[in-house]
Symmetry: C2
Subunit: 113 residues, 2 copies
């Protein structure tokens, strides 16, 4: 089988999703806009790494950061249209995870970074 050309767009998208916690951050944001603290409390990830991932998702046009000039100021992260279009990916992962394994079949434990 000769060298397979991998479409750069797919490779880039896989690399994005290949970054640890990216999929889970998108999964949580599919439930609606969240403040940083809300994201941090429901994900097994450090604040520093979460903020790095959010910045990258902003760069990709997947997440937008809204600042509300209240006292104290309120900062909310939400999915853009492009981010919402990832919903089929996340539900395909969800479906696969639910249907391809029994409860005691998972070979990996969740490690906190």
């Amino acid at each position: 089988m000769e060298k397979m050309e991998i479409c750069p767009k797919i490779e880039a998208a896989m690399q994005l999703l290949g970054k640890r916690w990216m999929g889970l951050i998108i999964y949580v944001l599919l439930n609606g806009p969240q403040r940083f603290g809300q994201l941090e409390s429901c994900l097994p990830i450090s604040g520093k790494l979460l903020s790095e991932r959010l910045k990258e998702l902003e760069k990709w046009g997947i997440v937008k950061r809204q600042v509300y000039p209240e006292v104290p100021v309120r900062v909310v992260y939400e999915l853009t249209e492009r981010g919402k279009q990832m919903e089929p990916i996340i539900s395909a992962i969800h479906h696969w995870a639910e249907h391809s394994f029994s409860e005691d079949d998972f070979p990996v434990e969740i490690k906190k970074e």
Copy 2:
């Protein structure tokens, strides 16, 4: 919004796909069984890392390693049934990558590990 419980199965599946190159290895194996050398030549990844990823995919029951006692011995990697069931995930990523970006819209370059 109170603390969101993330289903451990989804979290584990996201972590698996969250490992760099996992998605691409599965993407290539969806084309059929491949020898190690074929995988190595068409993926921008070192042999050492490729072999680590393949071992983990075997542990998850996603890939099986077939040894053919020929001279020289032939070792082929192929997706199991569980691995083939990931096809909807990979095509959802493919569809999103193709339709959510224009050619010059990708903010990331592919780095060889």
